[in-house]
């Protein structure tokens, strides 16, 4: 009887730990999933070219830069919001009529430590904050967001780049992009009164709908 209780207690402990791991994966993106998705009925879609990740203000390990770039390409491809996602420097993007350019600038970086996280739970988080700027080919700003990605409990430091890429892709997916037909000429669609670009797509959507 006692043995059965002990073993069932151990099973509960294992179950709780497995749930914790799953919860950690979910909580990093939950904030980005709260707004309602934007609908685009257009038959034409924008294509996207991702520029090289820039980090002028922070000292960033090249592996993190590389991981942000590659994870972004994967996650943006998964959204199915774009006709094609081109890499930086890809010549095939030159002939693309409806092309947006995504520029990522790292604004804040905390490398954290996987061992600290494993030992203390509350310390050692890896955090990355980036500015994500979506521009037209001639440099007009369409969207400007600050997006974060982090690892608080389980996983390697580089996993923060995966979470960040997923958040950037979610923010772009949830936002309303201008119709590809509008292109560059209809700047009134892209800019708020006063000529400033819409910042933070989640609130901008509701303003424009009102």
């Amino acid at each position: 009887m006692q043995r059965t209780r002990e073993s069932s207690g151990f099973r509960v402990l294992l179950l709780v730990s497995a749930m914790l791991i799953v919860f950690e994966g979910m909580c990093s993106t939950s904030w980005a999933q709260t707004s309602e998705p934007a609908t685009t009925n257009s038959s034409k879609k924008w294509s996207l070219q991702l520029e090289e990740v820039d980090a002028p203000e922070v000292s960033l390990d090249p592996a993190f830069k590389a991981a942000i770039y590659e994870n972004l390409l994967t996650e943006l491809g998964k959204t199915a919001e774009f006709e094609q996602v081109f890499r930086s420097g890809d010549h095939s993007a030159n002939g693309e009529p409806y092309l947006l350019i995504l520029k990522i600038t790292v604004r804040k970086f905390d490398p954290g430590s996987e061992t600290k996280r494993a030992v203390t739970t509350f310390a050692g988080a890896t955090k990355i904050k980036v500015e994500s700027q979506l521009e037209t080919r001639d440099g007009k700003l369409v969207k400007d967001d600050l997006v974060e990605g982090d690892v608080h409990f389980f996983g390697s430091n580089l996993r923060a780049t995966h979470n960040l890429a997923r958040n950037v892709a979610n923010v772009i997916k949830k936002s309303t992009l201008p119709e590809p037909n509008a292109r560059v000429s209809r700047n009134s669609d892209l800019f708020a009164p006063g000529g400033t670009p819409w910042r933070n797509s989640l609130s901008c959507d509701s303003d424009r709908c009102a």
Partner: protein
Amino acid sequence: MKHSAVRKQRVRLRTAFLVFGLFAGALAVAQNSANGSGADLASGIHATHVLGFAGMPDNTAGSLTIKDQSLRFESQKKTVALVGISSIEDIFLSRQDKQVGGTPMTVGKVAAPFGGGRVVSLFSHKKYDDITLIYRDKDGGLHNAIFQIQQGEGATLKQELIEAGAHVSVVDNSNLPPSAESKNATN
């Protein structure tokens, strides 16, 4: 009363065994992976493809070789991906400190009672070299690939790639602490 004391003692004993088992396992894994010798690119060096190498799934274990002016990665399932060395535009080395044992070890550590898992975590970590390659495909598209290799092998691999014709912007590796081998060589 006496019965519950025996039970408590039994639980403590089991906990001690569990923590000891995890600790011993972690040490064994860390030691096995630390026993590797220097890089030998003719026969291939053991590497884990973290991400970015075209045509290869992420987090794949395999071996890296330089052959016919190409850097070739062959996974343990015999899938091969390669890139021309002349198309490599930059190579960066960095060092990461990682917990060993993967998900099974993580679950075990979380499940260990009385914070035993945290003690194990103190010893179950290991340093790796991350080598980041920046290269362009035939359309000019920029690719970034990250490989994780044993500590100390990164510098050898980078040197071999430079000698084979890879381009680098920064030759200096002073950001990496010297490995045991290089320390011995200078003494």
